[in-house]
């Protein structure tokens, strides 16, 4: 349990300004810590990790950590990640996106990355809002919630990221929160080690742009919500339907072992070479 913070400090870029830009109580810093511990736990070198980030608050995480970091365009992180992984399958490619990033503007890229099962780990930091641009509705803003673009309450339904990624064909799908950090460490480490496309939805509350407009008194209040309104998947499944609807299940939903596209392509190349060899 010790050395957690010292360990993290060793992975940060010492020429960057700290504390980082995130608001007080923002979960994004916790996700960065969790990611670093997972990478360390898996004994990956800094050189073999490529962190590909999108645009938004989550996209700003990449600048702080001493991996190979690529801060891409809004919603397109997975397309870059796909190219990197196909070009060099030895790299561990982790795409870091927000909910608007991954599921609104980048929704098409996400379902296709899942379908083609590219060996990329997608971490989606879901704060239910567009934080950086000032608190507009996103594809995960709950129905009824207030935002800058839904001042009278959001009329639309929100995406269930777990169901969406599962239906699209992802190998691994899980959901964690920044309150359940030990579980989050495990979910990220498992996702990074599993073959093919793995998505981890991470509930990371935004008090500044979402919480204070939606009856949360503080960032702490939002963490309490994460604590009390979520259930580990195993116990959630035992709940009666009306309770299920109220509570958010967290844990691992899918853990397939299909090889990633980059592996299949390498095999294809080997097969073709073998066929053309004897002549």
């Amino acid at each position: 349990m010790s050395d957690v913070t010292e360990l993290i400090h060793q992975y940060l870029r010492h020429n960057k300004k700290f504390p980082h830009v995130f608001c007080p109580g923002c979960g994004h810093g916790i996700v960065l810590g969790s990611l670093i511990r997972s990478v360390h736990e898996l004994a990956l070198s800094k050189d073999e990790v490529v962190l590909v980030a999108g645009i938004g608050c989550s996209g700003r995480i990449a600048v702080y950590v001493d991996f190979n970091t690529v801060h891409t365009t809004h919603g397109r992180a997975l397309t870059f990640a796909t190219g990197i992984k196909m070009a060099n399958p030895d790299l561990k490619v982790i795409a870091l996106m927000g909910d608007g990033d991954a599921f609104s503007i980048g929704g098409n890229h996400l379902i296709h990355a899942a379908r083609r099962n590219i060996g990329v780990t997608a971490l989606v930091l879901n704060n239910s809002i567009y934080g950086m641009t000032g608190g507009q509705s996103s594809a995960t803003t709950p129905k009824g919630a207030v935002s800058q673009t839904a001042p009278f309450g959001h009329l639309e339904k929100s995406f269930d990221l777990v169901k969406l990624a599962s239906a699209a064909g992802a190998n691994g799908v899980s959901r964690g929160t920044v309150f359940h950090v030990n579980m989050l460490d495990r979910l990220i480490a498992e996702a990074v080690s599993r073959p093919g496309f793995n998505l981890v939805e991470i509930m990371s509350p935004c008090f500044t742009q979402y919480g204070r407009k939606n009856k949360f008194k503080s960032a702490v209040d939002m963490f309490k919500w994460l604590k009390t309104e979520t259930s580990p998947l195993e116990s959630w499944e035992q709940l009666p339907p009306e309770e299920k609807a109220k509570r958010l299940p967290i844990g691992t939903f899918l853990a397939g072992q299909e090889p990633g596209l980059e592996v299949l392509y390498g095999n294809l190349r080997d097969d073709l070479a073998a066929k053309e060899q004897p002549r």
Partner: protein
């Protein structure tokens, strides 16, 4: 494992990095931490610490370190695993 003994840790807070979000204070099971007048976390009751590690894992700003007493604080160089 025997019952956890209390107060066997050195808790360091880096006020320059603390943004005063209060997560560590609110969730510390032993009520070790509190916010000071400047709104930053401070160690009020180190003798109560049970070394659960919640605060350092949940500090979004990497501003708290909890290390067991008698243990070297710095990581050995081999843990630095860049190639």
């Amino acid at each position: 494992m025997s019952k956890k003994s209390k107060g066997q840790t050195i808790i360091t807070i880096y006020p320059d990095w603390c943004k005063g979000c209060g997560i560590c204070v609110a969730f510390c099971p032993a009520k070790v931490l509190e916010l000071d007048a400047a709104g930053k976390a401070r160690v009020a009751h180190p003798e109560e610490c049970i070394n659960c590690g919640f605060c350092e894992r949940h500090c979004p700003d990497f501003a708290i370190s909890v290390v067991p007493r008698g243990r070297k604080k710095r990581l050995p160089p081999e843990l630095e695993n860049g190639v």
